[in-house]
Symmetry: C2
Subunit: 197 residues, 2 copies
DNA sequence: TAATTGACCAAACAGTCGTTTGGGATTAGA
DNA sequence: TCTAATCCCAAACGACTGTTTGGTCAATTA
């Protein structure tokens, strides 16, 4: 139901919101990017804020769906954690602009729009916490504060958009492996993976 | 040299930037907060942007100085890491408003002002990386990608301002301990601290 | 062919923005 | 006492904001 023009406008908005930030991007900027008069945009969007809400909503929903899919498998807890980290980093790097808008600009939404995103974000933390609680129950993880640990892991992953560059040394998967290796084995532990394919 | 009024204005700005964001805060808002006409503020500040720069600069400088002080001690690498995490989280929680402005709003600075903060932030990452490289050299840490691991730890710590509430269960020090326990020992390792005082 | 719809423009709306200016007060120094 | 600096106000500056309105043109439908 979303026309080409609507997608085009959303893409332009993502690009500009990422480059300049939500407030520093004017409706005029978006109109210029797609080659329309700014008034004409209002045939496709309800408001500038609604545009941001849609972008953020789509982004957080993808993260949630991916993590729920991992939880629904019969993997072990450590396997789930590795897979979840891999998913999160892969998705956030390959949709870097959208992820940046979600993590950096969603705060600019007023109520009640902001609450929609906040609720979905809370849900995401919940799912991560479930992974850790599962491992705690099975004895695979030693975790006394599953939620705090979940927030630590999520924080590390959500920081990636701030520093990852395509031109860098490591692929998203390699970064994910460095991350989950530390989360699972720690820095001082002995059982670290050797060189493997 | 900074007068009372200047400090008062800076404090008002921090409070409002944290609550509403930099762009959503008008010079009028700040003037109202300190009980002046907005034009009168310009006897104390060069520009709204300069106000943000000062706030961010002071914040990142404190983080840098603290971490440098830890590096200058003769602690072991694991001890330095624990201390650095403790410092970072304690500081960011007790100056939550300022930290939020640094981490969330500094992006709104235009060049070359943004580059000043970026350089100091890069320096901070460097210092963290040094901690890890030290541990790698001494054999205390098993780290193949010290910089990526530093960014992981820093990400976890820099996310705290997004979720920590004074009303929550854990003190900043307790959160720091959960964090560094995972960083050092991992979730699957056996040598976790028991209940200790 | 006639009527209707959707896409789009140009202009206006009603503000708000950060910053500058010129001039009163009040205070401090010479 | 005269001078100079400091503090602050009131007003204006020009530019820009997101959104609405009325209308034109082409394509689609009946």
């Amino acid at each position: 139901m979303a026309s080409n023009r609507q997608k085009e406008i959303a893409l332009a908005a993502v690009k500009l919101f990422e480059q300049k930030g939500y407030h520093a991007t004017s409706v005029q900027d978006i109109a210029d990017e797609v080659g329309l008069q700014k008034g004409s945009l209002y045939h496709y969007i309800h408001s500038k804020e609604d545009l941001l809400l849609q972008i953020a909503h789509e982004a957080i929903t993808e993260f949630n769906d991916n993590l729920q899919a991992v939880l629904d498998t019969d993997m072990s807890a450590p396997e789930k954690l590795v897979k979840a980290v891999e998913n999160h980093i892969t998705v956030s790097v390959s949709n870097m602009e959208t992820t940046t808008v979600l993590l950096r600009e969603a705060f600019s939404l007023g109520d009640p729009q902001h609450q929609v995103i906040q609720d979905l974000t809370d849900k995401y933390v919940d799912l991560w916490t479930q992974v850790l609680e599962e491992g705690a129950r099975s004895g695979e993880f030693h975790v006394r504060e599953p939620k705090v640990v979940a927030l630590a892991i999520l924080g590390a992953c959500n920081w990636v958009y701030r520093w990852y560059r395509q031109s860098g040394q490591l692929t998203p998967s390699q970064v994910a492996r460095v991350f989950s290796d530390m989360f699972l084995n720690g820095l001082t532990s002995d059982n670290h993976p050797g060189v493997q394919q």
